[in-house]
Symmetry: C2
Subunit: 238 residues, 2 copies
Amino acid sequence: MRALIVEDDQFHATYLQDALAEALPEVTEIFHATDGAAGEEEARAGAIGAIVMDLQMDRRNGIEAARTIWAERPQSRILFWSNYADDAYFRGIEQIVPEDSAYGYILKTASRDRLKLALRAVLAEGQIMVDREIHRRQKSAASPRTRLDDSEFAVLIDLALGLQDKLIAERRGMSLRTVQNRLLSLYEKLGVLSDLDDDLTLNKRVRALNRALVTRTINIETLDAAQRDLETWLSGRR
Amino acid sequence: MRALIVEDDQFHATYLQDALAEALPEVTEIFHATDGAAGEEEARAGAIGAIVMDLQMDRRNGIEAARTIWAERPQSRILFWSNYADDAYFRGIEQIVPEDSAYGYILKTASRDRLKLALRAVLAEGQIMVDREIHRRQKSAASPRTRLDDSEFAVLIDLALGLQDKLIAERRGMSLRTVQNRLLSLYEKLGVLSDLDDDLTLNKRVRALNRALVTRTINIETLDAAQRDLETWLSGRR
DNA sequence: AAACACGGTGCGGGAACCCGCAACATCTCT
DNA sequence: AGAGATGTTGCGGGTTCCCGCACCGTGTTT
């Protein structure tokens, strides 16, 4: 069995390599890539189905790399291992994980034992495993009064890219007014107005993006990826 | 001589500790804190004037910690050591560094030798030392056609918080029209329109924030800090 | 079946935004 | 001193945004 580590931090990579060797004696070879693009190539070249993937990397982040890897070999097993419990990451992963594959999400702050457990569960046994912390934030970020549903999230992405209402409507197949309703509930859920500090009025659109960022609902990688999606959509439009 | 390391990543902390011991034999004690708030306390309690500070940390980031440390003991020497060369960080540091202190900024990707050099230069010799990479990005981000001047940056911050033109004008002491001129040049410099992809028109305000983020002109920590600044300004206004 | 909730849609209007135009003020260069 | 460059400000108007109101279709409750 061959495994691939995609991780740009030297220390984390070696630590992970040790843990992996301990947890999975059946692994015969461990490959290593330091960014998403290189990771894709390694996985392709070595036909590797067991991958540990960092999320935040320079050239190409973990989610994008995972998307192309899964597109080529949907049964690949990928354990994501990250510094942050951002909802943005989890949403991104959930969107791309194929039916018949295994994945996991574990934080770098997890203990070595828990990391090894996750390695076994996901890479060897093919289970789904999500760090408690992430599950908590994602699920209990809780009251449906606060959590965005998919269509709201889609509109948020478009808003964050700077699209105007009309274009969002076209892209998402809604009427103009419906887009505005989504925006309304976005403003509500993101707490755009609840700045009881004052009666000061804000620019809601910008404030919405601001709030989405500081609450880790989206992050800069999200924006990067969304920008690319937008461009392909634009080119296939005319 | 006593030194303090403020760093939340375990591996990086021990690596740094080793390098510090090697580079500065005159250091007798090394303290360690894992977030900004704890770092402030350690520095205060131990009256420590030689500090290595990570930037991205949970409870309180490095720049904020540095600000209060320098407020209490302006002659403290601080070497910032970070994963990223974000212009946002550098701007933040430049704004708070006192006259008669030494500081440095070095990337985590730097070689061990260069790190040791920086440790000596800043903590022992009291020099100013900035990583080449950062200096390059900051200076040559280059053509004055692209780099924001201070007043543009201030307006960008306010825009990013979601303030409307009128409030920005009041806060920065400009006329409404002047604020709008600043915004105009912001749009220009951030490349809000230069999406030659299409004739599609965007929401400039949101797009400006988007561009500022993906170009690393500001980051989420910036937004956090700016929010707090805004609140104190608001409270001192009525 | 009637009543109701809920989400999508159109209309209309007030507010904010974007920006061209023009009048000044300041500063620099010759 | 005059010409020019640069930055600030007011005015006006076209555009987008925000959102209350009203209407409708679908699904749920009584």
